[in-house]
């Protein structure tokens, strides 16, 4: 039964191959709004070239070849072998940006998943899907916090939980602090040497949302500097240009 399915998928994938080649050749891998399955083999004739030393040989022509041994874990925590993060980053690097739907299955507002998996990672509307693609590019190659997380192998679910985020998703402080804290440790870590009371994590505004300053998918900003223009404060996740201006 399973073999039969793989065979069928391969057939479907071969049909999709033409589209992939067209997409790559024109260098116009734009967001697609239809669910189409693609194959890996137009780039990877042989998986061995991209596998770690000692990795057992892999047969197959699409993502399902990997999923047999690397089933997606929806724990919401960074995975130890970082399979998902590495796979995503490798296919979203500066040289090429593959469409999500090369690997993922999608039916607008119904299913966003992986072939052969019964569950869905969440529901993504057409509008959300466009945003998702845009943000995913940012995750793989921006100067913002998303990319800093990507380098540490933290994927979407590291912050957003088990289901793919929808627009206007926000992150609660507890989520950030589960890796970066508790608040007390964080406060201690960021206490300014000269003026300890100018600590952005313990300010006169009380306990505020991390996201006031730390934006994942756009430039982060030191909110304090909106009023305290003379303070010397830095924040990660900004472009070189703006980090210079705050120094």
């Amino acid at each position: 039964m399973a073999v039969h399915k793989i065979f069928r998928n391969t057939l479907v994938a071969l049909v999709g191959l033409v589209c992939v080649i067209y997409g790559l050749a024109s260098e116009e891998v734009k967001a697609r709004t239809v669910s189409t399955k693609y194959s890996c083999i137009n780039c990877h004739r042989d998986f061995t070239a991209v596998l770690q030393k000692g990795h057992p040989p892999v047969k197959g022509k699409d993502i399902t070849a990997c999923l047999v041994c690397h089933p997606p874990k929806s724990t919401g925590k960074p995975e130890l072998n970082a399979f998902s993060a590495r796979l995503h980053r490798a296919h979203q690097c500066s040289k090429q940006k593959l469409d999500c739907l090369v690997c993922h299955t999608w039916q607008p507002a119904r299913i966003f998943g992986l072939p052969m998996q019964k569950w869905t990672i969440g529901k993504s509307s057409r509008k959300d899907m466009d945003l998702l693609k845009q943000i995913f590019n940012s995750w793989s190659s921006s100067v913002f916090l998303d990319a800093l997380h990507a380098k540490k192998n933290v994927t979407c679910k590291g912050c957003h939980g088990n289901t793919i985020p929808i627009s206007e998703a926000t992150i609660e402080n507890d989520r950030c602090l589960s890796c970066h804290g508790g608040l007390e440790q964080l406060t201690a870590k960021t206490s300014p040497l000269e003026f300890p009371d100018r600590n952005p994590h313990k300010s006169h505004l009380g306990e505020i949302n991390c996201t006031v300053c730390h934006h994942a998918h756009r430039e982060s900003e030191v909110y304090c500097l909106g009023c305290h223009k003379t303070f010397q404060m830095k924040i990660p996740g900004v472009s070189i240009k703006s980090s210079k201006s705050t120094e």
Binding site: E168, L205, G206
Partner: protein, 518 residues
């Protein structure tokens, strides 16, 4: 000819008759649910906005703004079992309140601090007199009456139910004839906002941050407020208000265009002490549905802001709090230029008239000890806000002021204290004022910055917003800096806190009493 006359007659139908009268009704009936909007020039165009056919949400009491007034209103409304939501456009709660200086004026408190410490007499009547005089009698006496009587119960409420801790000392600010300024343990507004937030959240009120009100829905000049349009990110939704809408969104000090429109002297070069969100758009939305506003030209300068940034940090609060203990203000020439006990407007404009930025408050440790500890003094020095000198001459040298002039000024001032008479500025000398004889001496630089907009929406003692015809707008309340006619032409230090909390509570209580719309 007849036809032309007819057309003319149609055109000169007044806006009021369009809004109130049969013409308006027929227009509205024909078009369905049109919304009131007086901001557009033409009467016909003023009713083109359409009231939402479907509401995204229904809430009993919606409060706009999360400062003292909004928090107090939400606490009382939710306490009366109304579902209450605060909409705050900024990413953090607390508005100007959370960053404010921390002085809460009240003639009394549960500890009776003034009586305990023999700081003289006071009463609601005496306070009211100072209040009216301080604002050049532009304040509405019936509103002040409400505040002076409600201030002590409101303070005790924050202490008892909100866990607010206050210092067991009192200060006397300029324009006040008695020691009535209460301070929290930390000399800022946050302990008060936290106390109010705690009361509100315990009672079930919710705060939505980053949520901006972008329109107030009202159908006609006789009808109630129906709801609000809310903008969050790029998304607009509409909330139906089941009981009432409370406007507590503060003033417009940060809206340079608006403040210049009412007071052209307040050029953009003036710094501002406010948080960036004080931009007054809710006043304009309220005016667009018929709310009356008054005294918008009365805009206060805070005399003692940090000269470069306009920041009102804790160090900038001492020149005002210290006046009663004998702080001396000098200009760049080392000379006094004003009665230090004068009101904010007098001190601010006296500084501007000196012609050279900045001026300085001169004080010693003994005076500071009456208000704060050694720690604050040290912190001020380390941050470069307080300049220290063992002698007056040394201090003057550090400030770039001629030493002999400054010394002469201080010697003369000490003599005035001794004699009980200020021959230069006729300051009323009291026994709480400390002479500048014992060093080391300190100075803090100061310069006026735009601080408070006294004008705003017209309300009655029930905190109802009054329309341009003098009638309350059904289901619309306002409290705090968004309202006008309370502080007159000049707000006295420490008077905004009780204004916000007392009228916030009243607005909340009355909003919850409104009969729920089905």
């Amino acid at each position: 000819m007849e036809k032309e006359n007819l057309v003319k007659k149609d055109l000169i139908v007044s806006r009021r008759s369009i809004l109130k009268g049969a013409v308006g009704m027929s227009v509205m009936a024909a078009a369905g649910s049109l919304a009131l909007d007086l901001t557009t020039q033409k009467a016909e165009a003023s009713i083109l906005k359409t009231i939402p056919k479907k509401w995204d949400e229904t809430i009993d009491v919606v409060v706009v703004g999360s400062g003292f007034a909004g928090l107090a209103a939400a606490a009382e409304a939710s306490g009366a079992r109304s579902q209450t939501v605060i909409l705050e456009k900024m990413p953090t709660y607390g508005g100007n309140s959370i960053i404010s200086g921390g002085s809460y004026s009240s003639w009394d408190d549960k500890y009776h601090l003034r009586q305990e410490q023999n700081l003289g007499d006071d009463s609601p009547a005496k306070w009211k007199e100072d209040w009216l005089k301080g604002g050049d009698f532009y304040s509405a006496p019936e509103l002040i009456e409400v505040i002076v009587n409600g201030a002590a119960p409101a303070l005790n409420w924050m202490i008892d139910e909100g866990g607010l801790e206050i210092r067991k000392v009192l200060a006397r600010h300029g324009g006040h004839s008695a020691f009535r300024a209460h301070m929290a343990i930390e000399a800022v507004g946050r302990p008060y906002t936290e106390a109010l937030k705690k009361i509100g959240e315990n009672r079930g009120a919710k705060i939505r941050l980053g949520t901006q009100v972008s329109w107030i829905w009202r159908k006609d000049m006789d009808g109630p407020v129906l709801g609000v349009e809310v903008t969050k990110g790029n998304k607009k939704t509409n909330i139906k208000v089941k009981r009432a809408l409370i406007l507590a969104s503060g003033g417009f000090s940060r809206d340079v265009k608006m403040r210049i429109a009412y007071n052209p002297a307040l050029v953009p070069e003036f710094n501002c002490t406010n948080q960036p969100g004080s931009t007054g758009e809710i006043i304009r939305y309220a005016q667009a549905i018929g709310a009356d506003a008054l005294q918008l030209a009365f805009i206060q300068l805070f005399p003692f802001a940090e000269p470069e940034s306009g920041i009102l940090d804790v160090f900038a609060t001492y020149p005002a709090k210290g006046a009663g203990y004998g702080f001396v203000y000098v200009n760049k020439l080392g000379k006094r230029f004003v009665d230090e006990m004068e009101r904010r407007d007098v001190v601010a404009y006296a500084q501007i008239k000196t012609g050279v930025k900045p001026t300085y408050s001169i004080f010693n440790e003994l005076m500071m000890k009456k208000m704060a500890g050694e720690k604050e003094l040290e912190a001020g020095v380390r941050k470069g806000r307080f300049i220290r000198g063992d002698t007056i001459t040394e201090l003057a040298g550090k400030l770039g002021i001629p030493g002999d002039t400054m010394q002469e000024t201080i010697a003369k001032y000490n003599k005035y204290l001794q004699e009980g008479k200020d021959s230069d500025f006729n300051k009323k000398i009291t026994k709480q004022m400390v002479p500048l004889t014992e060093g080391p001496f300190y100075a803090v630089a100061q310069w006026p910055a735009v601080h408070h907009t006294m004008g705003g929406l017209r309300i009655n003692p029930s905190a109802q917003v009054i329309d341009i015809w003098g009638n309350p707008i059904p289901r619309l309340y306002a409290a705090g800096e968004i309202t006008g006619g309370i502080h007159g032409s000049n707000r006295l230090a420490g008077n905004a806190y009780p204004d916000c909390v007392v009228f916030g509570r009243i607005a909340g209580i009355n909003a919850a009493k409104e009969k729920a719309l089905s």
